[in-house]
Symmetry: C2
């Protein structure tokens, strides 16, 4: 398995296992804090990733392959999870995400090959984009939101590190985004 | 298993498995980029975590339990890994870290109990700190540096996301730290 889609899939396939290793069974003392004030708790992030699996990445891949730039993508519902998942335990959300991701990667392997990567679609705000850009964004979007999970976990213990907070960029950035990692 | 040390250990014990799930066997196309210019690649971060296991967290725990504030902690060698680990493959670094972390958590369970959490030590720059603050910092320090790993992974595919970069805070923050997560 070589090529660019395989390279992206190597990362995309890992996210469910990373979330399991990090979050399933973790004491609630760690998991109930958002990344920033009015931000997202880990469960909100996992819910947002679920929305992406259900309505975004593969729907947009199919739109490119079937219609090219003739019809723009539907917009991403960035807050769909807040009501939809309100009663679902975090551990169940992780498993739901894992099932959706596995099904989507299987579908991707069926639908698209590296020869399709330069095919184009139409983003409702960004304009013309390629399948390569869409699939790369799928992977980097995972990384972006995993970073958000870490910020929430760290924030839950902000008060307990005492004076070491001055060295911990992940805590400082929750309040002042110009601080760098210590 | 309840109590504060158990709560911290629940997170600390997960970091090796998270690093394995994320990094072991991941194509090098993802793992050779630092979090920021002149920053750390994932392998440098894992090396830094190894240094912490070897010379910092448990040595400082023992210093508090044996000497209180009579002798300050030794300083943390923040760049020890750059030469020490230059020839070691990333996957081997992850396993070395996993072994050290497991041994240290076993030692911690032997040495310290929640009744020790208010005992004090002397940090060479920060002054008096408690064992509670030291052990909390150990866990949040993991989260801080895991966030750095994600930034490096994302940075490796900065060019491939095209116009979506405008929505991906993890990429924007590598260049401009005032950008927030998209």
């Amino acid at each position: 398995m070589t090529g660019y889609i395989a390279e992206l899939t190597a990362l995309l396939a890992r996210t469910p296992e990373v979330l399991r290793a990090l979050l399933v069974g973790l004491p609630q003392a760690w998991t109930d804090t958002p990344d920033v004030t009015d931000g997202w708790r880990p469960r909100d992030v996992v819910g947002h990733l679920i929305t992406g699996e259900e309505t975004d990445w593969m729907a947009r891949t199919r739109r490119i392959l079937e219609h090219g730039t003739a019809f723009p993508f539907d917009r991403f519902e960035r807050f769909a999870m807040l009501q939809r998942d309100a009663e679902v335990p975090l551990d169940d959300l992780v498993e739901r995400f894992a099932g959706l991701r596995a099904a989507n990667l299987a579908a991707l392997a069926e639908l698209a090959a590296d020869g399709d990567l330069d095919r184009r679609g139409l983003h409702p705000s960004l304009g013309e984009v390629t399948l390569r850009e869409l699939l790369s964004t799928w992977a980097v979007h995972d990384l972006d939101h995993l970073g958000q999970v870490y910020a929430g976990l760290a924030g839950s213990h902000d008060a307990e590190v005492g004076p070491w907070k001055a060295y911990l960029g992940i805590l400082l950035r929750r309040e002042d985004l110009t601080e760098v990692s210590g």
